[in-house]
Amino acid sequence: MIGEYSGFILAGLGGGAVVAALALGLVLTNRATGVINFAFGAMGMYVAFAYFQFRDNGDLILPLIFVPSRIHLLATPTLFTALLMAVLLSAVLGAATYWLVFRPLRRAPALASVVASLGLMLYLQEVVRLNFPTGSAATVVRMGVLPEQPVRFLGTAVTANRLLLVVFVVLATVALTALFRYTKFGLQTRAAAGSQKGAMLVGISPDRIGLINSMIATVIAGIAVILIEPISGLDPITTSLLVLPALAAALLGGLSSFTIATCAGLGIGMLQSLILGYTVRPSTSWIPDWVPRTGLQQAVPVILVLIALVWRGDALPDRAYLVDKRLPSSPTPRHVTLWTILLVGATSVALLGFDAAHRQALIVTMVSALLALSIVVITGYVGQISLAQLAFAGVAGFTVINVANDGLPFPVAALVATLVATVVGVVVALPAARVRGMSLAIATLAMAVALEQLVLSSKGFSGGVAGRSAPRPVLFGVDFGISARGADNFRPIFGFLVLGVLTVSCLMVANLRRNRTGLRWLAVRSNERAAAAAGINVGRSKIGAFAVSSCIAGLAGVLLAYSTSTLSTNSFMVIGALVALALTYLGGIASIGGALIAGLLAQAGLFTLLANGGTDGKAGTYVFAISGLGLIAMAIFAPDGITGAVRQGAQHLQKSLKMGGQPPQQTALAGAGAGSGPGAGAGPAEGKPDHE
């Protein structure tokens, strides 16, 4: 019996090896710089694209926009020169990303590095799309590196490149382990990871350590992706997302063990291949029809990782989590009535005055703002990075379609769907009681993948690729449906329905933030141990916040279902969840205003419509590449997002107006002094005058 599957297991070695190689790089960069790089797969992807281009015609294509990026280096590149170029290029890429992106974020919270690396991933994907010949694949002949003929291994035929790839990864693992255990450089890296200040005081340069390690890591990633191309292919998006299983493998190794990360990576690859082999057999009829077979292949490994994470987790963080890290500021909502009147008034006028295209964009904006609001609650207020919000919306969206088609009247169907999303949210929240930070981000991502692959892709639930349509919402004989003929499409009355839901949700969140619940949430966010010591039930606070947030996400999903002619699974892909988180961060993750700005910035929202209109669509070419760079810049320079920047600007203005003739510089210094956290050892307490 086992022999039947050994072919599948061995075939999975290739995919497993690339996951393992990326996991190795993630562990290495985390140990050296304390940063987790979501863009790691994208970096390897770019290097591989550059390699195949160079191998084909000697052109080196740089990851730059707006400047000529193609350099003709060699007339007749050889395997050796091409590999050398790839190694050098990945080393430079590793050094550049460290210096420009991750070094400034060394002491930032996990969320900032998630957002910055998402920006980097978006940028690299766009650069590859813009600079490399894609589409008609024949333009570049991708010459593989390793021999592909089959060999016999353990009595089963397997292609040589798979085995050699495994050899490469195992060698890299052994080399890294030895480097860390036996060399002075390894000792220094471990020291710098333990205490940056201590390292500097004994004369170790953390910058040098971080730079060298991220160069090594990127070289490993680049080579692995080059080697995997003949087995798994190469594509800007799919290859970039290989980072997700790699992160899972790295997390299993506690982000510090090379050996466990490699074994977990290989294991994930083989398990996926085995599931594929098992599910395609006709005899496995016990799996019900509604379970998507490919989904099973994607979901089972991440679920196993999730279980392992929860099992390893603890109800309260250990001391290592109590590093002083600046969180985005979360001001108490003020002038709520005034803002409500202003915004609702302006939106109402807009709904009545806009043409159909702008009405559509406005509705998209409001629905996106609702989704962003759910992220503000869970990630901004309680500090739990959740990447499952879009999946909750998807669950609610398809539920409302299904129950409404079964005959439930409009408001009841919507409420039922929201309730379902809330319940799912609470279930997803259960692991959050035991894992936190980056591990929670991955745990919720695993849940999102599981929901997407097993539930949202299920034909019986969502209609599969074709999607499903909701009936028109009618209440007391009033038709709230969105669609109408011609210029009347995207009817204002549906817009008012969305506006109503958004307004009520925002007011509810503002209220929660202002009463004791909000204080408890902020306490949990800033220090779980201290919150527990102050008598706050940390687990219950988190689960409560997840319930509120998934309820809001559910509402967004319901409105999304009613606002599109057919709802399809594509609206709820994992990449969309990442983008939603990034946009909310951009708007300002810890304030309601930030959610509204995130809505404006959302794809097909008002901002993109206006930007495209102003530049005759030319902005569209570079919009993703630029927003990628924008995300990186925001994460580094303005962790409070756009709302935070506006707020600071307003405060500055107010102060300098009050100060009159006085030089504004002094107020800036005073403000900075008062606002800084406990600095390097001494803290601002030293600044206070002593007692008289």
């Binding site: 070094r103 400034p104 000792l187 220094q188 471990r190 020291a191 990871a193 333990g194 205490s195 200040k197 201590g198 390292a199 500097m200 005081l201 004994v202 004369g203 170790i204 340069s205 953390p206 910058d207 210094l669 005073a670 900075a672 002094g673 800084s676 600095g679 390097a680 050892g681 001494a682 803290g683 601002p684 307490a685 030293e686 600044g687 206070k688 005058p689 002593d690 007692h691 008289e692």
Partner: protein, 287 residues
């Protein structure tokens, strides 16, 4: 660069002149003058928030100097690196700290900044200077002022790393049995020994210890403080300590400075100061 001078006017190990320093551009230390001579233990005293810790952080380069000068054996630390005064940019800052550590300043901060995941031995090994810095130092060692008569100072510069380790374990015998323990598992007192020991591994010219007694039993403090004195006397290095326990500090130091509002309002030999407790008290609480 200063020229070697006659013994009479020889540069002290550390000289702070008119130092202005603080956090985020806000001056806490404001015009501090202070010297630490060779083989001398100097105590910084004062109430909470007068800038004692800030002074140490500024000397080791962890926070920028806003004004005045800091010299190690007559060498201006800030300007010699060609960085403008007050530069707080991360990379420039880190370069300042590194160059000062390599020049011979060992700083044991309040939080001790140990590497908890590493063993005691690894922590100590990391304290060792790079070989090229050690070599450089022994070439320049004729400039190292020394109170030691028999010339052991010169020999010390060329000790092998294991000899240096033995020497440090000689100061703190309690660490000998713990060499393979992770630093995070040590008790508070053992951690303090390790932190000072790591500083001593670099054979510093200036050792600065911030709040040695923080969180330690008084009996342990009474054992640890004399080690600093022995170190200063046998190697001719300077030692600068920040201490809340005035009596302990005065008992172990040669001289002391009393800080108030970022300035030294009182200074003198420790013997004089201990003889006049009222004066010290007045310095703490105002007139």
């Amino acid at each position: 660069m200063s020229v070697p001078q006659a013994n009479q006017t020889e540069d002290p190990i550390l000289r702070c002149a008119g130092v202005v320093a603080g956090h985020d551009g806000l001056a806490v230390v404001n015009g501090l003058d202070l010297t630490v001579g060779a083989g001398e233990v100097v105590a910084l005293l004062g109430a909470n928030g007068v800038g004692k810790t800030t002074t140490l952080l500024t000397v080791s380069g962890l926070i920028p100097l806003l004004g005045g000068s800091v010299e190690l054996q007559g060498r201006d630390l800030e300007v010699s690196r060609g960085k403008r005064i007050g530069s707080s940019k991360g990379s420039a800052r880190s370069k300042q700290v590194l160059s000062r550590a390599r020049l011979g300043i060992a700083h044991v901060p309040e939080d001790r900044a140990l590497f908890f995941d590493l063993t005691v031995q690894e922590n100590l090994r990391l304290g060792l200077k790079r070989k090229k810095d050690r070599k450089h130092e022994s070439l320049a060692s004729n400039r190292v002022p020394s109170k030691v008569e028999d010339g052991t100072n010169q020999a010390e510069q060329q000790l092998s790393s294991s000899e240096i380790l033995d020497q440090v374990l000689g100061y703190f015998p309690a660490l000998t049995g713990l060499l393979d323990q992770p630093a995070g598992l040590l008790s508070g007192g053992q951690q303090q020994m390790l932190a000072i020991g790591r500083g001593l591994m670099s054979q510093p010219k200036l050792l600065m210890v911030d709040e040695l007694s923080l969180g330690l039993a008084p009996i342990l403090v009474e054992q640890l403080l004399p080690v600093l004195r022995t170190f200063a006397q046998t190697t001719g290095a300077g030692v600068l300590i920040v201490e809340q326990h005035v009596h302990l500090a005065l008992a172990v130091s040669d001289r002391a400075y009393l800080l108030r509002r970022g300035k030294a309002t009182l200074s003198g030999s420790s013997a004089e100061l201990s003889a006049d407790p009222d004066l010290v008290e007045a310095g703490y609480f105002g007139e």
